[in-house]
Amino acid sequence: MSLVTSQFDPSGQYFASVIVSLDSHVLRVQSSTSSTATNSSTSQSFSTVFPLPKGLKVLNISWVPNTINGSYNHSLKKQRLASTSLENQLISIVLENSNLIYIYSPSVNEVLKTVKVTSKLSLFKHNLNKFWGLDLANQLFEFDEGFELINTVHLNDYLNESFDNVQFKNFKHLSKKQVILSSNSLYLLDDKTIEHLNSNHINEVEEIKLINNDKYVLTYTKNDRFINCLDLEKNSLVKIYVTENSILKVDYFKNEEFKLDMLVALTDDGKIEIFNDPLSISNDKQNSAASKYSKRKNVKKSVSSNYKINVSRPIDQLAENLVFEDLKLDNKHLVLTWLENSSIPFFHHLEWWNNSADGSKIYSINQNVQLFKEKPNLKPFQNLQHGHDVASAKHYNESHAIISSGDNLRDLQKNEEDEEEEEELSLAEKLQLQNKEDNVANGSIKHKKRTNAGTLTVVLVQALKSNDHSLLETVLNNRDESIIRNTIYKMDSSYAVKLIDRLSERISRNGNRQLNLNFWVKNILIYHGNYLIHNMSDKSNLNSLISVLNAKSKNLNRLMELRAKIGMVTDILEMKRDMAKVLDEEPEEEEIEENVEYIEELDDAGLLDGEDDADMDDLSDVEEQDEEDGENMEVDVDGDTDDEDDDQYSDVDEYDEKLKDIVAAEKGEDQDQSVLAKVKQIKMSK
């Protein structure tokens, strides 16, 4: 049992439970009604969770009326009315390891008051408009509405020697003076004397319930199967209710209006046992039988349960052990609770009486009840989904999808009749096809005559007929154009489509071989084009060829553009070079004439390796190199490969720069500008 302790409020509308969460005790108060309204989902309408300070352990809790804030009303009737609303109720929390009593208000989710007592209490509850506490030393404390201690009764003083070492664990007020006290047995404190009542248990009494206008007392203990019902007046046991397993909790309710009463017990195997009409004397049938086995007198009065209630998962769901944790009986309903996910209480409301056909009220639980509860979705929201924050956009995986292209015409339909591709051919259609094939066969006799055994055509047809790819490969490996032409020429047209399919498959797979294979395609189109046009009105059959050709031709425009651009650049270059040559020749001659003075003496002296000459040499070197570059470039352009073109570009640019620099260096600015102007002029005219 994962609940430390639990308690329904007097109206049965709210359920307080203490669970251990993260090593500290947590008090949770929930509305029990909401789960019937929405059925099967967690009760969101009211739920507070109050974690107690670490280390504090809860012994028991009890619902008490709210006497703080002056909302407490002394009139008993009004009190009952008021007690149904949560604001008017508090929960007293008795701690196991502290002298403090917490008075907690579920409506504000706060501890309103802590009551400090001198010794450790074992119980704190509300009886007869007062608050009472019982400690381990048999002291009964009386508190007023403000939880102030007003009186202490030392119960030990009233004990006579016959029951000396009794330690009282529970109490219940009959009246101001009369208190029923319990340890293993029941005692009655009447004013100042304590007398022993005739009801004994093996263990300490768990709870004392006054029933039948306070005439009877119901007591039970944990780990025992008996519920004693004691007549206070006669001081004798009226009945003993026997359950099949040890009892955890018991509730009794009498509907005064219809004179129906019921006793329910929760046993430690998590089942509910029902005693309909427990106080009636007539239902003693089985007891007489039981009495035979027992000699004890009071066993005569023992009653076993009528029916049982069980909860489990639906059969189709994973089996899981569900046990009831607490129960509450009220006017109309039996409220049962069990834990989902070992921590969240869920509720079920069961009507324990209903209208019979003749209008009288009858017990509605008249057989064993099996409740089926589906596993609820306890994750009403998730902040993460598969490690993916829900706030972020969802992404998709393209790798799972089929990717196709707009020019895939394979599934193209002619019209509606073709729709059912998968349908088998009807007999008539098959017949028609047969005839067609015959016709083709007849018609092709002529062609067959034309082909000679051992020619490539025969091999090709064989390869196509038998789907022999390796054989086909040997045929297609022929590179001689005239052989290809002749082979295609001699081939029967009916194989053209198949061959085209095979060819386009190969072309699309291996782009490098295309040159060779293109001959095949070309020749098929030449010699069998007529056949294809007339018989292949359905485009889908030539689909693969279409897509291959599309893919091939896709880049043509771009390549042409590139080629034109490169051509233009080389043209400009060439022109520039020509211009430079023309310009260089004239001024250079002049320059040499102007600047260079030949002095025989110097030459003779071997002093003529001057700077000017060196410059001249450099320049001519560069020019020579450039010419070489230019030639190379033209070759490359013819080769039209994409990648190298870019490199070419940059070379050209570099060259251009160089040229400009040199010209500028040589001729000074004026001339440079004139050259540029000329170049521009030529560009314009072009």
Partner: protein, 817 residues
């Protein structure tokens, strides 16, 4: 049999856009309040759901908000019109506005409220930063720190001249300013907030400062984010300590904030990454892949473990508000408005108004519908999940109208999740151009385009890659998660209409055609292509099930039929319509209409339609036997069987995206048409007409005060769903089943006219309809106040009720009523 306006229900109740100001997280950390234009929405941080919405007239003036410390159910709104509005956000009351007070600002030089700083214990006096409203981020103004209250005079505590930007510390005790002289100033409250101490801080200016933050603890540190991405840390309390530079961002730092104990600095910018700088250990942490660029990081004093973040999702000022848990950096809440991509942005509504007012433009019957801008947006309802879908960029947003919140956003095309900085902004994401749902909602077809970035002078620079995608709806049947199903890509077709040919319209097939599992696409050349799913053969499906091999079970969409256009005409004005009996497809190109046999995909050549449109056709619809043509300046209805024009023919100017403004209810043969127009005060407004194909008199007219962006019919809602320019979603539903009997069509048959007559008639009808609609206005206003309630109206209320608090349920009911 006529229908009174009572039977129609019209209202805009959902949607809207987030305002970028005024978000709050309640002091107990349980709720978050987000401002929309006309409502405050309260979200529960534990369930991520909207638990309440408080209707307030107009919140676009609000500059800041604050919780009252005295009354836990009150919040204060501060507006730029210097008002303090007290609102009860917790309780359900008839009038949530508790108090509305105007501050005495009119005679002072302090301008208007910019930022709320704090209030005193009695909550009578408030401290503000005031000044002129900045129209853009880098403008220079004088900023004042003032103390004021109702009935109190404004007390100036300090002022900073030439301030460009400012920010306050988390506890709002310090305010830091950056001024034009490239200096930093900070102000600090002293003497029980009675005085302000103003300091100037020495600091080495590098580049333009774009964001600021200041610590709230004892050690004063200022962080300044710059446009170059460097964050400068200035230690004010210890002048000997050299300035520090934090380098990670590579573009503008837009938001900065210290955390509560000043150990961490949070920063964000264009990278869509939230950075955490541990100032002591110099360690960094990152939260990448946020949905947009980070505009604001909000830390509230009361909540140490919750960070609010505003991200800007696109250029159209669509924001998302995220609340992050500081412990695990997982979102606790994300709030989105409806994120539709409008053809022209909402700003033009006011700009147009200004322009027209300036010109004193004379509006008459001919040109009052000549709205200059196209305010339409793509928007559809998915009938299975009842979500509305709006594409924006490469994302598709699904919005739950019943819950009034975004359900999910899904990427439709591969995108880079990282933010773009500097030259990366040239790289464009793919954009969704068109999308459509099959009539049963099980399939979705999207068309997106991706243009090549102009990074280098490449020949491929003008290339646009197109792809058509087919998505299967995977319903969330077992209820394991709360999401309402998702889309799974089944087939992607690259260049569906050939290389570089864009598709102009995707049209789903009617239900009568293969259960509606087909789409037809039309491109700019008038080519039509029919796409249908090719289900795997049963043998493979079984095998796939047995071996759980998904590849074998996959459905491929393939091209089935082609109609080749003439190739003579290349126009973007292409529209198609498929008759409900699936036999006929009408194709409009520019001004001409071609009828195509849906079976053979060949043109029907023996029938030539008369020239009906007269201008460029925006949209075609086949309703019953009638062809409804929306052209640039008229709307005509033509009966294809009698081959005569119907009575319905109206002169009206329509925008380019007019096909989004007309929608057809094929069950009841009703047409819903939205028309945007200028009112006499130059406001942009709209009128929605519900028409039958053969009658000029509208069945119903509704008025709306802002331009309509999209109308779509939803069989799930059994009515029309509308979207306006302010991103509000509305419904137009009718509770009566059969609107008209057949008798009236007899009259229409007798209505035979030639073109001349029809022109004359049109002119007459324009006047008629203007008069009529004017007189009708009064009726409608009266009648709108009564509402007809029946069970179907409440249906959306009961959706997704699980996990919904009872208050929220009531709210839904109230919304419906």
């Amino acid at each position: 049999m006529t229908v009174s306006a009572n039977d129609w229900k019209f209202g805009f109740n959902a949607g809207g856009k987030i305002l970028p100001e005024g978000e709050l997280i309640s002091p107990d950390g349980k709720f978050s309040l987000v401002l929309f234009k006309s409502q405050i929405r309260v979200f529960s941080l534990s369930t991520r759901q909207s638990v309440r919405s408080i209707k307030v007239n107009d919140l676009s003036d609000v500059v800041d908000t604050a919780f009252s410390k005295l009354n836990s159910s009150a919040i204060y709104l501060f507006t730029k019109t210097n008002k303090i509005i007290t609102i009860n956000w917790k309780d359900r009351v008839a009038n949530p506005i508790i108090k509305e007070k105007t501050l005495k600002f009119s005679t002072t030089p302090f301008g208007s409220l910019l930022k709320f700083l704090k209030m005193d214990a009695t909550e009578e006096s408030f401290y503000f930063i005031t000044g002129k409203q900045a129209s853009n981020a880098q403008k220079i103004y004088t900023r004042y720190i003032v103390k004021t209250g109702t009935g109190q005079n404004v007390v100036e505590l300090a002022n900073v001249k030439n301030a460009i930007i400012f920010n306050h510390s988390i506890n709002r005790n310090r305010i830091v300013f950056f001024t034009t002289k490239n200096t930093l100033h900070y102000a600090e409250f002293i003497n029980d907030d009675e005085q302000i101490e103003l300091h100037t801080v020495n600091f080495q200016f590098k580049t333009q400062v774009t964001s600021l933050a200041i610590t709230s603890g004892d050690d004063t540190i200022i962080a300044a984010g710059t446009s170059s991405g460097i964050i400068q840390i200035v230690y004010v309390h210890d002048q000997t300590r050299p300035q520090r530079l934090l380098k990670w961002h590579i573009d503008q730092v837009k938001a900065l904030s210290f955390n509560h104990d000043d150990n961490y600095l949070l920063s964000g910018g264009l990278e869509k990454v939230l950075c955490f700088w541990n100032l002591e250990s110099d360690k960094q942490q990152f939260l990448p892949r946020l949905s947009g660029t980070i505009e604001k990081i909000i830390l509230q004093e009361e909540n140490e473990d919750l960070y609010g973040i505003y991200t800007k999702l696109n250029d159209d000022s669509d924001f998302e508000y995220i609340v992050l848990n500081a412990v695990d950096l997982v979102s606790r809440l994300n709030v989105n408005g409806v994120r539709a991509k409008f053809a022209s942005s909402v700003e033009w509504v006011t700009k147009d108004k200004k322009r027209l007012r300036k010109q004193q433009f004379n509006l008459d019957n001919d040109n009052n519908t000549k709205v200059k801008h196209d305010f339409t947006a793509d928007f559809l309802v998915h009938d299975i999940s009842k979500l509305v879908y709006a594409p924006s960029g490469s994302y598709l947003q699904a919005y739950d109208v019943a819950k009034n919140e975004q359900s999910f956003v899904t990427a439709i095309a591969p995108t880079i999740q990282a933010g773009k900085v500097r030259s990366e902004t040239l790289i464009q994401d793919p954009t969704i151009e068109h999308f459509a749902f099959s009539s049963d909602g099980k399939w979705m077809c999207t068309f997106d385009s991706l243009s090549t970035p102009e990074l280098d002078d490449l020949m491929s620079a003008n290339d646009i890659k197109y792809s058509l995608k087919f998505w299967m709806f995977v319903d969330n049947l077992n209820g394991k998660s709360l999401e309402s199903g998702h889309w799974e890509l089944t087939t992607k077709i690259i260049d569906p209409h050939g290389l570089g040919v864009p598709i102009c319209e995707i049209h789903p097939s009617p239900t009568s055609y293969h259960e509606g599992h087909a789409f037809v696409t039309a491109d700019i050349n008038g080519n039509l292509r029919l796409w249908k799913p090719k289900f795997p053969k049963k043998v493979f499906r079984d095998l796939g099930h047995a071996t759980s091999n998904k590849k074998l079970q996959q459905t491929a969409w393939t091209l089935r039929k082609i109609r080749r256009g003439t190739g003579k005409l290349e126009t973007g004005a292409v529209s198609i319509s498929w008759s409900p009996d699936s036999s006929l497809i009408a194709l409009a190109q520019d001004t001409s209409i071609t009828l195509v046999d849906a079976d053979t995909f060949d043109d029907i050549e023996d029938i030539t339609l008369p020239s009906l449109a007269g201008s460029r056709i925006r949209s075609l619809n086949i309703v019953d036997n009638n062809l409804i043509i929306v052209a640039k300046n008229r709307i005509v209805s033509f009966n294809l069987l009698t081959f005569a024009s119907n009575e319905l023919s109206v002169k009206v100017n329509t925008p380019i995206g007019a096909k989004r403004l007309i929608s057809v209810d094929h069950e009841r043969n009703l047409i819903c048409l939205g028309v945007n127009y200028y009112t006499s005060t130059y406001e942009s407004a709209s009128r929605i007409f519900v028409l039958t194909p053969d009658n000029l008199k509208p069945v119903y007219i509704a008025n709306h005060m802002s331009p309509i962006s999209s109308i779509t019919y939803s069989s799930a809602h059994s009515g029309f769903v509308l979207l306006d320019i302010l991103s509000n979603i509305g419904y137009l539903t009718c509770s009566v089943g059969n609107i008209f009997t057949q008798e009236e069509t007899e009259e229409a048959k007798a209505f035979e006219i030639n073109t001349l007559l029809s022109n004359a008639k049109q002119m007459a009808t324009v006047k008629q309809y203007n008069n009529k609609s004017d007189s009708m206005d009064v009726d409608i206003d009266d009648e709108l106040s009564h509402k007809l309630l029946n069970a179907t109206i409440f249906e959306p209320v009961l959706e997704n009720v699980e996990n919904l608090p009872i208050e929220a349920l009531f709210e839904r009911v109230m919304r419906v009523i």
